[in-house]
Amino acid sequence: MDLAFTKEEQAFREEVRQFFRDNVPPDTRRKMVEGRHLSKDEMVTWWRILNKKGWGVSHWPKQYGGTGWTSVQHYIFNEELQSYPAPQPLAFGVSMVGPVIYTFGNEEQKKQYLPRIANVDDWWCQGFSEPGSGSDLASLKTKAERKGDKWIINGQKTWTTLAQHADMIFCLCRTDPGAKKQMGISFIVFSMKSKGVTVRPIQTIDGGVEVNEVFFDDVEVPVENLIGEENKGWDYAKFLLGNERTGIARVGVSKERLRRIRDLAGKVESGGKPIIQDAAFREKLAACEIELKALELTQLRVVADEGKHGKGKPNPASSVLKIKGSEIQQTTTELLMEVIGPFAAPYDVHGDDGSNEAMDWTAQIAPSYFNNRKVSIYGGSNEIQRNIIAKAVLGL
C-alpha cells in the first residue's frame, strides 16, 4: 500500500495544470467558478483547444486519438480539469457515443464519426429517457420501423441535455415490438437537422434551459445509421452507462467548490465577523471536507484497481461513487447558500455584464443549489444505485 503519486505522475499533474493556466480562456473559468452557464461557442472553443493538444478524447484507444495514459493519469487529468475549473469534454460525444462507435461500429462509421466527435464538429446529444421511461428505461416506446433502406422513427425523448446545440443524436429505439422489453431495442444515430425532429426546451427550477423534449415525427434515417447489431441496443446502452465509473464522483468539482466556500466564508460577515469564524459553520464545512476526502480515497482505490487489474471486474467500491459524489456536490451548494444568507434571494438582476462586481458572485448561488438537485436523479437515480448495490454487491 502506498498513497504517494510517483515523480512522473506529479510532473504530469504540473504539466496539465500549467496547460490549463495557459490555455483556458479566463472568462470561461470565471463563469465556471460563478456557476454560470456557458455559451455553445465558449465550450466548443475550449474543447478544440484541448483537442488540438491531443487531450480531447484522452481515454480513447490510441488509434482513434487517445493518449494511452494510465488510469492514474486519467484520474489526475480529470481532477485538475474539474478543480481548475474548466469544462469537461462533452460527455455525450466523448464518453458515451464515441466508445460505443469504436467498440461496436463498423469501419465506415468509425471513420465518419470519431474525428468529428473529437473536434466537436458534431455536438451530440443522448436520446434515452422518455416521458414514460425514466428509471425503467427499457420500457421505452420510441420506435424505428424498417422501410426499404430507411428507418422511420416516431416517438418522443425527454431530458435531452443541451439538445438545442446538438447536430447529432444517439437514440435507443424499439425495433422489435414483439420481443421482451430489453431485447427489441436498437442503437441508431442521426442528424438533429433531419426533417421531423422538433426540440422543445424545458425550463428547470433554476430558471435555466439545459434540457429539452425532442419529438420525432416520421423522421427518415438511412439504414446504415444503425450502430452494431439490430436489437442489441440495450447491451450497448449498458456498456455506455458502465463505461465511466470514476468521473461520476466529480471529486474535483466538489474540491473547487469547497475552496470557494472557504474563500467566501472568510469575507462574508455574520455577527460582525467572517462566517468562517462561526464554529457551527466551520464544523459543517469540515464535515463535508472529510466526506469528500473519504470519497477521493474510495475513488483512488477504484482507479488503482483498474490500473492493476483492468476494467473487467469493477471494484465493488465503485458503486459508492455516484451516491456519495452526488450527495457531496449537493452539500457544497447548500453550504454556499448558507454563506450567502439573505442575498440568496435576488434574481440575477444584473445579468453577467460586470456592472456590479461586488454582488455578481451571489447571482448564481441559489440557481446552482436548485440545479444541483439533479445530480442525485440523473445517471441512474441514487435509489436505482441502491438497488444495484443490493443486487450486485450484497446479493439481495
Binding site: 500500500m1 502506498d2 498513497l3 504517494a4 503519486f5 510517483t6 505522475e9 492514474v72 474540491k255 469547497l258 475552496r259 472557504r262 464554529a279 466551520r282 464544523e283 464545512l285 469540515a286 464535515a287 471536507e289 472529510i290 466526506e291 469528500l292 476526502k293 473519504a294 470519497l295 480515497l297 474510495t298 483512488l300 482505490r301 482507479v303 488503482a304 484497481d305 490500473g307 492493476k308 465493488p316 467500491a317 458503486s319 459508492v320 451516491i323 456519495k324 435509489e383 444505485q385 441502491r386 438497488n387 448495490i389 443490493a390 443486487k391 454487491v393 450484497l394 446479493g395 439481495l396
Partner: protein
C-alpha cells in the same frame, strides 16, 4: 498509488484470519470472557506463537519490523472476530511507547516479554475530567532523589486488571491543562501504592480504575523527556486511533455480512425480508458507509508515516470522524434490520454494535475530531 497488500502482507492476513476462524467463534469468545481479566491466555500465546505480538517491533529488538499496514491487517482481523485480548493496550500502545521512546535498557526489559506473550501492558491515561484532551493531566510525578513519586487517579484503563506494567501519564510541572510538563512513566502494576478496581466494560472487555498513591519508581521508569512528552503521547495515541479505525472496519464488515445473511434467511409475509426494497436500501447505505470507512482507515494507516505531525494528526482526526459516523450508522442499522433478535445478548450482532459504540468514544469522539479538523483549517 497502490491499495493492494503485498505478498507478505497477504500471508499475514491469511494466517491471522485462519487462526481466528479456528479459535474464535462466538461461543468460544463467551468462554474466554469468563477467564481471569476477561480474556484467554491460551489465545494470547497462540498470537505470540504466530509472531503477531512482535509484529511492529524492530528486528533488532526481536520483532518483525512491521509497519502501519501490518497493524491494520491485524486490527481488522481482530475486529472481525470481536477479539477480547489486549492487543491494542499491549502491542499497539504499550509497544508504541517503547518503540518511540524506550531506551535500549527499557526495550530489553519489556519487549521480549510482550513478544513471547508472558507480559501485557496497559495505558493509564484517562482522568476524571480530562475527557479527550491528552494534555489534561492532574496526576503528578514529583522528583524524589533520582527517582519519582506518582500520585493520581486513572480511569477506564483497558487491560488494567491483568497488565504487568502500567504506562502512566503524569505531570512533572505546570498546571492541569498546560501542554508542557507532562511525562510518561513505566510503573510495575504491583508497585506499592497502586490499587485497582476492575470491571467488565460495556463491550465485554475489561478495564480498571487505578489509584496511585505515593508510588515510588526509579529513574529507569521514565519514557522520553519527563517534562515534555505530549508529542510522544500524541504520536502513540494517533497510532492507537488508526488501529481502532481498522478494528472498526473489521467490525463493520462482519456486522454487514451478518445482517445481509440474516435478512436473506429471515422470512415474513412468506418471503425473505431481504426482498423488501426498504431493507435493501438500508443495507446498501450500510455498504456505502463501510466502504467510506475503509477508505479512511487506509488513509489514516498511510498517514501514520507522514513526517509532518500536523498533517498526520489532521488526517487521522478526519479518519476517526468518518469511522465514527459510519460505525454509528452501520451498528444501529444492523440492530434495526435484525429486529427483536438483534436486541438479545444471545445474538452476536448486538456485541458487535456494542464494541463499535465504545470505539466511537475512545481517544476522541466524532465531534471532538471534527472540531480538530475544523480548527486546523480543514482538509482541502
Amino acid at each position: 498509488m497502490d491499495f493492494d497488500l503485498n505478498e507478505e502482507q497477504r500471508l499475514l492476513k491469511d494466517s491471522i484470519d485462519g487462526l481466528l476462524t479456528d479459535s474464535y467463534d462466538f461461543e468460544s469468545r463467551k468462554k474466554y470472557m469468563m477467564e481471569k481479566g476477561g480474556w484467554s491466555k491460551t489465545v494470547w500465546l497462540k498470537l505470540a506463537e504466530q509472531g503477531l505480538l512482535g509484529l511492529p517491533f524492530a528486528e533488532a529488538d526481536g520483532g518483525f519490523g512491521g509497519g502501519g499496514v501490518e497493524t491494520m491487517i491485524v486490527m481488522e482481523a481482530l475486529g472481525k472476530a470481536l477479539v477480547l485480548e489486549p492487543y491494542l493496550a499491549t502491542v499497539v500502545i504499550g509497544g508504541g511507547f517503547l518503540r518511540h521512546a524506550g531506551t535500549d535498557a527499557q526495550k530489553a526489559a519489556h519487549v521480549p516479554g510482550i513478544i513471547d506473550g508472558s507480559k501485557t501492558l496497559a495505558f493509564a491515561q484517562l482522568e476524571k475530567n480530562s475527557r479527550y484532551d491528552l494534555f489534561d493531566v492532574a496526576t503528578t510525578a514529583k522528583k524524589k532523589g533520582d527517582g519519582w513519586v506518582i500520585d493520581g487517579e486513572k480511569f477506564v484503563v483497558l487491560n488494567g486488571e491483568n497488565a504487568d506494567t502500567l504506562i502512566v501519564t503524569a505531570r512533572t510541572k505546570g498546571e492541569r491543562r498546560d501542554k508542557a510538563g507532562i511525562g510518561v512513566f513505566l510503573v510495575p502494576a504491583n508497585a506499592k501504592g497502586v490499587t485497582k478496581k476492575s470491571y467488565p466494560t460495556q463491550d465485554g472487555l475489561h478495564a480498571a480504575d487505578i489509584t496511585l498513591t505515593g508510588v515510588e519508581i526509579g529513574p529507569d521508569a521514565v519514557l522520553g523527556n519527563p517534562e515534555d512528552s505530549l508529542a510522544l503521547i500524541e504520536r502513540v495515541v494517533d497510532e492507537a486511533r488508526v488501529a481502532l479505525c481498522a478494528e472498526a472496519v473489521g467490525l463493520m464488515d462482519e456486522s454487514l455480512k451478518t445482517t445481509v445473511e440474516y435478512i436473506k434467511t429471515r422470512k415474513q409475509f412468506g418471503v425473505a425480508i431481504g426482498s423488501f426494497q426498504s431493507l435493501q436500501h438500508r443495507a446498501s447505505d450500510m455498504f456505502v458507509a463501510a466502504e467510506q470507512a475503509r477508505s479512511m482507515s487506509m488513509f489514516a494507516t498511510m498517514a501514520g508515516d507522514f513526517e509532518n505531525a500536523k498533517e498526520r494528526s489532521n488526517a487521522i482526526a478526519a479518519a476517526k470522524v468518518q469511522i465514527g459516523k459510519s460505525l454509528k450508522f452501520v451498528g444501529q442499522q444492523a440492530i434495526q434490520l435484525h429486529g427483536g433478535i438483534g436486541m438479545t445478548m444471545e445474538a452476536k450482532i448486538g456485541h458487535y454494535f456494542k464494541r463499535l459504540t465504545m470505539i466511537e468514544n475512545s481517544f476522541g469522539d466524532t465531534d471532538y475530531h471534527q472540531r480538530r479538523v475544523a480548527d486546523g483549517g480543514g482538509l482541502i
